[in-house]
Every structure is written in C-alpha cells, then in structure tokens.
Symmetry: C3
Subunit: 292 residues, 3 copies
C-alpha cells in the first residue's frame, strides 16, 4: 500500500491487514519502522477530531509533524494543490494527510509526487480512515463482519461515511441498510422508515445532520427529524440484545441521537474515536514500511 | 491536586507546594514524572503569552503536545465543550489546558472526564496560573507573603487577575488594596485615589486598560487615565525603597504605566513571564504525578 | 554572526561559510550544536513555504519549536513588536524567525533583545534566507558565482528577492541584469526587453506577478505579460546550453513562466526549495553555535 485514497482501492486482504495492525497497536505493539519520517497534515477543511487523531497517531509512531496552516497557505495566492504538494515534496516530507473539499483531489497527485498521500476526507466521496475505524469497531465487537446487519441512518446522499462504508462492509460480507428521508436518498436504494429495520440490526450507525448544509432547505424541524429518523430512547429499546450504536461525530444531541444515549452501554461512539488513533497508526505504519 | 480550576480550591499548603516546586525548577531540578504524557492547549480566546508559556512548560517537561485550533474546531459545528473534551479523552489526551470565555466552564468537566483540566482563564472569574505566578514573584522577592502590602490598580470589576489574586494574597497573609475609578469598582471595596496608597505599598500591580472593552464607554481619555490611575514617573518616585512594579501584560505604554518604567529596576514585569513558565511546569508536574 | 537581518550585513566570507555549511548538511553532516535550544517562527504575513522550510530545518537540527499564531497574538491588543519579542525572551526562546510587513522591523530589536533575530522577510526590502538559497543554488550549479550572468525578470520595484539578490550577486562577482515593464522599474536600471538578454544569461530568475498587488492597476493582461515578460517555450529555446531557470515561488503558471517549463530539465525551482531547508539549517547552526 503506497497511498490510501479510497476504500475502493483496498482488497479485503488489505483491509484485514490494517485491522489486525490496529489491534496489535491497541494491545501495545510498537512501530517497527526503521527510519525517521516527517509528515504534514493538510486540512483545507476544518476537522478537529480527524486532525487531532492523525496528530496523535503520528506522535505515537514518533513521526515528525511539520505544521501546515491552510488559511495561511500559498493556495491563497492561487497555487494549485499539485504545486503545493510538490513544494512539500521538495522540503522533504515523506507523507501527507490531505482533507480537501474537491472530489477525488488525489487523482492529480497519486503517481506524480513522491510523498505518500493519505485521504483525510474529500468532497463528499471518500473518507477511508473513517470507514476503516468504523469497520474495525464492528469487527472488534463481533469478531467478524460476515452476516452482520449494519443500518446507516441520515443524510445518505451527502455523507462520505455512508457511501464508502456501505461499499466496503458489503464486500466484507455484512448486510447494509440505508435509512433516510426521501429528499436525502440521492442515487441510493434506501428505506424511508427507520422502524422497519431497527429490530434486525446488529449495528445502528447514525449520521450527523449537517445543519450548516441543510438549515435553509430542511423541510422538517429538528424535533420532527428526531422523531422520524433519530435514535430515540424508544427505538433503542427495540434493538437486539448485543446490538451497538455508532456515530462518526460530531453529533447533535436530541437530533439524530437522544442525548441520554450518547454514553449508554450500547454506544461505541467514543470507542470509535479511540479506534481512530489505532487505525491511523496502522495505516501510516504500513505505508511507511512500504517505502523502506 | 487532580485539576487546577480556581484559586479557591487551593489550600495555603497547596499554594506553597506549587511555589516551592516552581523554585526547584528555576534552580534546575528535573521532572520526576515516570510515564509519557500528552496534552493539548485549548485556547478558545486568544492569548499569545499564556499559550506560549504553557507550550514552553510542556516542552521543558517533555510532555507531548497535540495542536488544537479553536477557530477550526467542531464547536463551530455546535459541539458542546463537554463533548469536545470527551473526544479528546477518547483520542488519548492526559491533560488539557482550557481558556474559554464562559464563566466557570470547568464545572461541566471536572469529575466527569478523565483528562486533568487546567484553567487557562475563564470568563472574568478565574485565571489561577496567572495568580500563582504573581504570588510566586512576590514570594521570591520578599521571602514571604506575610504582611506584604499589595496594591492592585485598574479595572477591578472586569479583571480575572484582581479578584483571584486579592483572595489568595489575603489568605496568605498579605494586605491587598484595590484602586480604580468608581465606574470600574463593581462589588468591591476600593480606593479611588492611587496616591493614598502608593507610599505604603510593597507591590504595585498595574492592570491592563482593556481598550477593546472600554473604548466606546470610557469617560476619560488615555492621558487622563494615566494621570489619575497610571503609574507615572512621579508616582514611581514615591514608592518605598524595595517596592516592586508588576503587570500581567500585555501592557499599554503611557496608559496604565509610563513607558520608561516598563524595564526600570523596580519592574518585575518580564520576571513574571519567566516565572510563568516555572509555575506552569510545577502545576503540570504535580497534576501528572498525582495520576501515577 | 549573531543575527541575520539583511544581506548587506554579510561579508563575502560569511556568505561562503553559509553556503559551505549548507552543502555539508546536504551531504549528511550533523549539527554540532551542544545545547538544547528553542525557537519560534513569527510569521505576521502568510508564507507556507518559508515557514515550513524553517520548521523542517529546525526539526532536522533538533531545535524545539514553540508555536506562535500571529492572528492570535497580543499585537492585536496593540502590543508593539519589541514588547512581543521581550515576552518571548522572558519565556525563554533562544532565536526567533520573524516575517513582518514593516520595512526593517529588526532595527527595533537587534542589540536590544537576547534572542537571535532571523529575518524571514520584511516589508519589500530584505529576505536574506531566500537570497542565500538562490545564491547557493547557482553556486551548486556552476561551482562559482564569478562572471555568472543572472537575469532577474518581473516586478523589480516591489520584489524583496530582486534587490537583495542583485546586491549580493554583484558583490560575489556575478553580472546581474534586471528586466521588467517600465512601470515596475522603480529606482533601478533595467532592461525593458527580455529578449535582449535571454541568450547571454546563465541563470534566468523569474519573479512572481503579484496579482493581489497589481490586479487593480495592471495595464496589461496576463497573456500580454506572458508574451512580453514571461518565460515562454520560445524564449527557453534561446537559452544557453547549461543555463538554468529559477523562481522563488509560488509561481503563476502561464503568466511569468510557461506551465510546461516548471519541471523541465533546466528548472531548478524545486531544487531551490530543497536547498532552502539546508540554507536555513546552516544559518540556524551558525547563529546557535555563536551563542555557545
């Protein structure tokens, strides 16, 4: 694995290797990378959690991190992403985490620049480290992905998480249900009634209602959304005994999820964030070792 | 000491232990913390000096620091401070320095989250590391706080420093005078004439005139303020032989303090900032050792 | 060398010592600085490339870096640059890289503060680390500066690079031609026709068209500029066999330089950025060793 840009590029074997490396790190394994490497995290879109998770992973691996300030960068002077990355290559960076609003921004980079490219989220298409930490959390819980029923609820059409998780989980043997209001359905086959699938789900994965995207054209109030598509306390009671709740965060309490469920026994929301550090360590480890 | 949120929570013994640890660090002592720890500095309000002082203290203690950009954070997406801190707990941070405009923001955190919370300044109420570095500077100068006369001059009602210093200094045996124009007096007993107390003070602690707060409703010009409540060269001449000048900075030259006094023999202004690094090292050291 | 603020202060011997130290680092030499030092990079004006180049140089030398956020600093509260630097001195910083829009900002600092001052670009006057990396790149190419013909093309009047490079290169024995439209000539003797000098140049150094400065009052279109003063493919063909192309970047493709020339065989544009890290390592090494 030279770069990580999309779940589509990963074989089932590669995914399993990443999960196992993450699990090894969780159990206390140390990096076996030989050389000293330097990375930068290019977040052209804000994301506290993803950026800090990468920073922690890099620190845990003793990789050097050179700060990059997007609001401060030459892209303001009209520089293309390719030219910015060529500069960072010249300065000596070995790998770059990039979050960029452009869809598939990585196509202009992969194979053309020396630093490894790790996609930290692009347009609305890909967010492979989030998918991998979600998959890891499910695998950790059930010991397998085979025949696990995963229900993803929310803004399916605009969610990075939904589309890349659905593809990968299906390839790994899971059954994926998508639930959303008809207006957020996009090109996908979805259920429009949450209650039809809640009782049969092993995993209920709630997506964030993106107020900043929807406020102007949402045809329902937050309260109505919560009743129709939120994980209410009533719905949680219908879940299977061992079923778990997931959310990529940041979450809106009492919109997509009832506030009291955020830290309930079924919730793996903060576990997902713990796992995010191990997954990112695993990805960086595998990519850097591939360069030695 | 598990957290440091307010001077009120510190006993006299705890304050003295912090001062002595700071002094030990100043004299070259090394940290005796055993494990490797990681912190983040969450400055939701700007403060170059406090933030950089913490960063230096953390570096001196070889604590890892994960960068946090407030203007960039999920709080922009409506996340509560509690939820942000729970995320940082999940990512693996051991202690957080937080500056936040909300008064007593720490009440929603202490006892509910795993990372230690160090208050880097809240609303207008608490700024314990500033108080401790001020107290340390006085103790260092006079070898005691007992019977030292400390005069604090400026915007008493809105100053974090004034109220928490006044409380703590009084408990430590010092006599505190507050001096300000009547409109900045708030609920406090104050003198409205600086000249009544200047000759009897061991410490004259000037506060910053917060132009950004007052410009619209100040009833006096900068020059008038300087004459009435500023530390002018004339007033400095009336000070006791061994009396010292303090200021938490940033200072306005020729408003609260005459420009030529900033670096005069009596001034401990830059000494305070040096001491700030040692005080913050002491606080972090004591809190991290309490976790081992 | 205690500070580096202007090319004018450097003797030819000092310049050559810096180039040789940079070359030693390029060939794998390690720092021989004995103590542990801490620096900060104060960029009051944005510059991804210069800032990241310094950060990489500091990391390579194992110098600690305390983050400084200009948009976040006390200068917003009206603090002078001198007072900000005195604070950083008190906090314990050994050296500061400063980029500031004020011309010769360093005059208020040098000799008055303890930290070493390294000019990262001031007003439109000085940018010595850029000049040194340019000179290093030419020296590396030709083994000498003596009798090398360097043609600098672009906004001569407003370019930091042009004026400090021209002075230093001339002192080092090179011949410098300046080429620009008459409106950007300023006080300098310039050629207004690029084609008069292209064939005799060993180095063609293109400068960035600063759209953000010129958009409102440029009397020619980007296309016209490219034809008249840009390095077109046609002009490149007229260059001497061993002649090279340089650009301080960020570059505007198809304005000052044809897009296909950016990475052509003659281009040393990304080599310049590589060299920038070694030059900055050399400068910091020499300054820190001078403090031991």
């Amino acid at each position: 694995m030279k770069n990580l840009v999309s779940m589509k590029d990963l074989s089932v074997d590669q995914i399993m290797a990443i999960l196992k490396q993450a699990q090894a790190f969780r159990e206390g394994a140390h990096s076996t990378v030989k050389n000293s490497y330097t990375m930068a995290n290019l977040f052209f879109e804000p994301s506290t959690r993803t950026k800090m998770s990468f920073e922690m992973a890099e620190r845990n691996l003793q990789v050097g991190v050179i700060p990059f300030e997007a609001g401060f960068s030459s892209t303001l002077k009209g520089e293309t992403l390719y030219d910015t990355v060529k500069v960072l290559e010249a300065i000596g960076l070995d790998a770059l985490v990039i979050r960029h609003e452009e869809n598939s921004f990585f196509e202009q980079l992969v194979g053309k620049v020396k630093p490894a490219i790790i996609n930290g989220g692009d347009g609305t298409g890909n967010h492979p480290t989030q998918s991998l930490l979600d998959i890891y959390t499910i695998w950790q819980e059930f010991g397998t992905l085979q025949d696990i029923v995963v229900t993803i609820v929310g803004d399916i059409a605009h969610s990075r998480v939904a589309r890349s998780n659905a593809d990968a989980l299906t390839r790994l043997g899971a059954t994926v249900h998508l639930v959303c209001p008809p207006e957020w359905q996009g090109e996908f086959d979805t259920f429009n009634e949450f209650d039809k699938v809640i009782e049969s789900s092993d995993v209920v994965m709630m997506l964030r209602v993106q107020h900043e995207r929807h406020d102007s054209n949402m045809t329902f109030s937050k309260e109505d959304y919560h009743q129709a598509f939120g994980l209410t306390v009533e719905r949680e009671r219908k879940m299977k005994d061992k079923a778990i709740i997931m959310h990529p965060a940041p979450f809106n309490r009492d919109v997509e999820i009832a506030s009291e469920l955020v830290e309930c026994d079924r919730s793996r929301i903060f576990k997902q964030m713990e796992n995010g550090v191990y997954i990112r360590m695993a990805i960086i480890e595998i990519i850097l070792k591939g360069r030695e």
